[in-house]
Amino acid sequence: MKETIGFRPRGDDAVIITFGTAINEETNQAIRRFLFAIEKNGIKGMIEAIPSYTQLTIIYDQQECYYEEMLDQLYEIRRQLTSIEIPEAQTVKIPVVYGGEFGPDLATVAKYNGLSEEEVVTIHTSENYLIYMLGFTPGFPYLGGMDQKIATPRLETPREKIWAGSVGIAGNQTGIYPIESPGGWQIIGRTPLKLFDRDRSPEILLKAGDYIAFYPISEKEYLEMGGTL
C-alpha cells in the first residue's frame, strides 16, 4: 500500500495525497485509513482535509509550515499506517417513499430498463452504497455500487426545483439531494431524513467512507418520520 501513496503540492497552502487512479472500495479504504492516522497523530498547521475519489487534499496554514515541513509530517504518518486500527465503516439506513408524487420518474426508470416499478425498488434497496465523497451541494453524497440493471440517463430537460431529500438516478449513479436545488436526475423517491440541517449536530448526516442502505417506507411512515409534503 505504501508505494501507491504519493504527495504533491496544490498551490502554496495545500498538498494532495494521491492513492492511485482506481475508483474503488480499496482506494476509499486507504484514504479513510490515512484520515484516521491524521486524526490520531495530528498535523501541525493543518486546517482541514478534503477526501475525494482517489485523493486526500490537506489545506494548511503556510505561515506555520513550509511545504517541506508538511511533507515530513505526512511521510511520518505514511510510515505508521500499517499499525493504525480503523473502526468499521457505519451503514446509514435511509428510509424512502418510492414512486408517486415523491418519485415522479420511477415509472421512467422501470420502463427504460424493462422492469416493473417494484423490481426497481427491490434492486435499489438491495445494495449497500459506499459514500466516496461529499460535494456538489452541502452534504451531497457521491455513491458507488449501483446495479447497472436500473441505470437510466438524466432527464433531457433538468427540473427547476428538486425537493430536499429526493433520491435519484443519473446514468449508473444514485444519489440524494440534501437541499432544494435544480437538477436533472431521475427522481424515484424521497426520504424524510435531513441530509443537511443547520440546527442539528452534526449538521451533515453522512460521512465519506460510510455506507448507505435504502429501505422502502409508506407515505404515512414518511409523514410520521417528519417528512414534509
Binding site: 498551490g11 475525494s52 452541502p138
Partner: protein
C-alpha cells in the same frame, strides 16, 4: 441579548453581504468555504476595529450600500475605495473612525478595486452556521438569513471601545495590478506544452459571468493533452480550472468543494487579494513562480501587514 438595531439598511447597494474569514473544516462535507473574497482587506478591517482577525464584516461589492446609524459606533473601512461618506463628507479608509447616532454612512461609487470591507468595533450579531458567520447565498445560510442585505434590514452591534488605529495601506499591492502569479500543476500532465505556453503568454479578460463562486476568463484557448475531465478532486481558493471549451475559470470563495475539470494551476495566496479586487473587463496575464517563492511572498506580505498598524492610545 441585544436585538435593537444599531444600523438600518436604507439602501442595500448592488451586493452587500456579511462575511468573515471563511467556514473552516466542513469542505469534507461538501460545504463551501465562503468568507470574504479579499481575506487580507477583511482581516485588516477587523484588526483596525479591535476585533478578532476573522470576525464578521460587511463586504460591499462595487457600490451603493447606505446605512442609517442609530448608535455611536467605531468603524474601519478597507479594501476597494467605494467612496465612503458620512453625511456627505468623505470617510478616511484604513483607520478607525467614530460615527455618530443619526448620521448616514454611504458608499457613493467605485474608485479603485471592487469590494470594500466595513468592520464595527464590537460584536456583530449574525447567523453562525458551522462555526462561521459567512453568508453562503446558494445554501441560504450564514450572515443575515443566508442572503444579501436588503432595504430595511437591521444590523445589531454590541459596541466596544477601542484604541485609535491606522494602517499604512502602501504595503498592499495596487489593485490595478494585472499580472497574477501562479503555481502550475505540471505533474498533472493535463495540458499540452502549447496549452501551458498560451496560458502564460496571452492576456485573459475577466468576463461578465464572474461572481463569488468563480471568475470566468476569456482569451486564447488552452489545449488539453487528453480531454478536460479528471477524477473529481478538491477545488481550492484560486484554483484555475480549464473545462473542455479551453477557457480558464478561477475558483473563488463560494466555489464547490470538489470538481472534475482539469486544473492548470493555482493563483498564489499573495495575489488573491488583487484578484478579489478585480472586476469583469479587466485583462490579466499569468506568470509562473515556484512554490517556495510563493510561500515566501505570502510570509513577507503577512509580516508587512503586521508591521503596518500604528496604535494611538
Amino acid at each position: 441579548m441585544k436585538t435593537q438595531a444599531s444600523l438600518t439598511v436604507s439602501h442595500p447597494g448592488f451586493f452587500s453581504l456579511i462575511q468573515d474569514g471563511g467556514r473552516k473544516g466542513y469542505q469534507a462535507f461538501g460545504v463551501p468555504e465562503s468568507g470574504a473574497m479579499d481575506k487580507e482587506a477583511a482581516m485588516i478591517a477587523s484588526l483596525l476595529a479591535g476585533n478578532p482577525k476573522e470576525a464578521p464584516v460587511i463586504e460591499v461589492t462595487v457600490m451603493g450600500l447606505e446605512l442609517e446609524v442609530h448608535e455611536d459606533l467605531t468603524i474601519a473601512i478597507t479594501g476597494g475605495d467605494l467612496g465612503p461618506q458620512v453625511d456627505g463628507m468623505p470617510v478616511p479608509m484604513y483607520q478607525t473612525v467614530k460615527i455618530q447616532t443619526g448620521s448616514r454612512l454611504r458608499f457613493t461609487g467605485l474608485r479603485t478595486g471592487a469590494r470594500a470591507y466595513l468592520a464595527f468595533s464590537g460584536t456583530m450579531k449574525a447567523d453562525n452556521v458551522m462555526g462561521s458567520y459567512a453568508t453562503y447565498t446558494r445554501g441560504n445560510f450564514g450572515g443575515l438569513d443566508g442572503r444579501k442585505l436588503e432595504k430595511g434590514d437591521s444590523i445589531v452591534i454590541e459596541p466596544k471601545e477601542t484604541a485609535f488605529k491606522r494602517f499604512d495601506a502602501s504595503v498592499l499591492p495596487g489593485y490595478g495590478q494585472t499580472e497574477i502569479r501562479v503555481i502550475l500543476f505540471r505533474e498533472d500532465e493535463a495540458f499540452t506544452g502549447e496549452g501551458i505556453h498560451t496560458f502564460l503568454s496571452e492576456p485573459y479578460d475577466i468576463s461578465n459571468q464572474s461572481d463569488r463562486m468563480g471568475y470566468r476568463l476569456s482569451g486564447p484557448l488552452i489545449s488539453h493533452r487528453e480531454g478536460a475531465d479528471m477524477i473529481s478532486s478538491a477545488i481550492t481558493f484560486g484554483a484555475i480550472q480549464v473545462p473542455g471549451h479551453g477557457q480558464p475559470i478561477i475558483m473563488m470563495a463560494d466555489r464547490q468543494t470538489v470538481g472534475g475539470y482539469t486544473q492548470i494551476g493555482r493563483v498564489i495566496s499573495a495575489d488573491l487579494s488583487v484578484l478579489a479586487q478585480s472586476l469583469p473587463g479587466k485583462t490579466l496575464t499569468f506568470k509562473e513562480v515556484s512554490l517556495r517563492e510563493a510561500q515566501n511572498l505570502y510570509r513577507q506580505r503577512m509580516n508587512q501587514i503586521n508591521k503596518a498598524f500604528s496604535v494611538y492610545e
